[in-house]
């Protein structure tokens, strides 16, 4: 029985897949001897050598672009981007190449690669380090988007992402890199890449979230429980493809739903979930869907950051409002 942090679980999954498949490579800035700015790749270079754990120059386009070339040749590159603020050049490679190589060659060339990046705020990081732009990736056809919310899920989902035959964007909620410990055994068991995770059963309202906001969401569920409101908590985990059925089924039961995310409100992935409910769950809805999200503002620097971050209190308030609606 070993308790691990989320970032340790990432390292474990990387080591596991590198061990089981010599085609797995790690590329990124400072992933080698430094072990990554968050230590996610710590120790890998000693264990697997510098051919397979490769420090790149400061070139995010290259991290993605070289991975496309490697993947086309049968390797399974896992690229690390240091912070979400530096991932945008990667969109070009993901959208124009990685996500479509299989379809544009009708299966001749494939692109099994993973881009990992920490995301989100709340750790008082410098400018451009705290954004939550996961929604951008969910609009790109041919891409999987995965976000773990606990050490065990990080381990299982990353195994699945690396073993997957197609490109995956794997976003890591850095606020909880070290704040939660959980038992994680190196079982090699992957978690399916197209299933939401039910974290708490409840009958009154469905709270849907992912990443670090799962913490506030579960806290809110506890608070609500003391008031007699039993929330069902769903961790989306695999945003794309979205397992809408699990969410719809839950709301069929509860009749109420709030979606919680850190990203800005407009066109955040909460919109997609609320939209699915408007489309496929309307008759089950007893109250308006609520979105508890960041504001449509530039992520503030640390001094005002706390104003931006959704809180458990906001989730509780939204849930109460939903319960009171009639």
């Amino acid at each position: 029985m070993t308790e691990r942090t989320l970032v340790e679980a990432i390292t474990l999954a990387l080591a596991r897949t590198m061990d089981e498949n010599e085609k797995v490579l790690v590329v990124g800035e400072d992933v080698g001897i430094d072990g990554g700015v968050f230590r996610a790749t710590a120790g890998l270079i000693n264990r697997f050598g510098k051919d397979r754990v490769r420090d790149t120059p400061v070139s995010e386009t290259v991290i993605a672009g070289i991975s496309v070339g490697l993947a086309a040749q049968g390797f399974r590159p896992v690229g690390e981007v240091q912070f979400m603020g530096f991932i945008y050049p990667v969109i070009d490679q993901l959208l124009n190449h990685a996500s479509r190589l299989r379809t544009r060659t009708r299966g001749r060339i494939t692109c099994p690669m993973v881009i990992r990046a920490p995301y989100g705020g709340g750790i008082h990081a410098p400018e451009h380090h705290s954004e939550s732009m996961e929604a951008l990736f969910t609009h790109i056809p041919g891409l999987r988007v995965v976000i773990p919310s606990s050490p065990a899920r990080a381990y299982g989902l990353l195994l699945a992402a690396i073993r997957d035959p197609d490109p995956v964007v794997f976003l890591e909620p850095k606020r909880i890199y070290r704040s939660i410990k959980e038992e994680v055994e190196d079982t090699g068991n992957a978690i399916a890449l197209d299933k939401c995770q039910l974290l708490r059963a409840g009958r009154d309202i469905t709270l849907v979230s992912w990443g670090a906001m799962i913490v506030e969401t579960l806290q809110a569920a506890e608070t609500l429980s003391t008031e007699g409101i039993e929330a069902e908590v769903i961790d989306v985990a695999t945003l794309k493809p979205l397992d809408a059925a699990t969410i719809l089924n839950s709301v069929e039961k509860t009749g109420r739903c709030a979606v919680i995310h850190e990203a800005p409100y407009t066109s955040g992935f909460g919109a997609e979930i609320a939209a699915r409910l408007a489309e496929y769950g309307l008759t089950n809805l007893l109250a308006p869907v609520r979105r508890v999200t960041g504001y449509d503002v530039t992520m503030p620097l640390p001094k005002l950051e706390h104003y931006y971050m959704p809180t458990a209190a906001r989730v509780v308030a939204a849930a109460r409002e939903s319960m009171e609606f009639s």
């Binding site: 672009g65 590159p77 190449h97």
Partner: protein, 367 residues
Amino acid sequence: MPPQNDPSNVAAAFSIPFTRYLAVDGSVEEELPDFAHDPAALIPLYRAMVLTRIFDEKAIALQRTGRLGTFPSSLGQEAVGVGAASAMLPEDVLLPSFREQSAQFWRGVTMKEVFLYWGGDERGSNFEGPREDFPVSIPVASHFPHAAGVALAFKLRDEKRAAVCIGGDGATSKGDFYEGLNIAAVWSVPAVFLINDNQWAISVPRQKQTAAQTLAQKAIAAGMPGEQVDGNDVIAVRDAVARALKRARSGNGPTLIEALTYRLTDHTTADDAHRYRSDEEVSQRWKEEPVSRLRNYLVSQDAWNKKDEEQLLSVCKEEVEKSADEYLATEPEPVSEIFDYLFKELPDDLRAQREFAIARIGGNEHD
């Protein structure tokens, strides 16, 4: 010129060599490289250039009559692709931009496939021949980092193969061109980067792309060798690419080659070059074009005559027509194909969309 300074303190110095064997009129300017000693050995290169030119003509004709999409002719630049591809081994990998059908044909991509691609059919990139070659890259320069990745794969597997990446003069202005070169050099991977410097990027002339005197010197930024060749001399192109491939295969890292040539026609069938350049400029450049240059040389060596030429033209035309017919006879794919290659296994949410798409058209193509 660098700012005035004590010239004794030189941190680094560089030069960019230039290579041409055949003068504009086809006469020999420098002693020919080994592969070109026997003129007969050059006939396949000649044939490949002629075939491409006839293919391009046909493609334009098909486009004009609504049977092909926008098409980029390679008129005048056939020596670049043919020179490069003929220096490669089958097990090498080509990563072409959108104007290198001449290289693709040599590599074994069929004319039917190239027609399919520009006709708007993804099967055109599912090459039966060179299975590992990349499809053409439309987003300018975005494939340069891929070439570094492919080459790295070869290096990691200790294979004596190389990646050959071709882009235009316009491509050298993009960040991914530069990043691709830089990583290839610092990781010393077996890649050859070849610039088809046809003097134009749509309407923007070479001089407005960059203040650099040569494009080859962009290699210096990455710390790799750069050289310039006459891109209308197929011997020079093949020679330079062959030398670069040799370096690559011997573990000495990548090379950048700039092939000076000229785009003799419109950018694509969607363009009208008369809007931005003069007929005079173009006719001047016709004097330098690669097909007649090599033909003149072959004729001067008694390795080619009028009859050969006529026969070649008729054979090529026949082949091109046959391929066009095959292309035109190709049944379109069913709607399911827009879903079925997106992932190895179709996720559930796409399955529903796929069913909807099929149901909605029923038996018809269009609903």
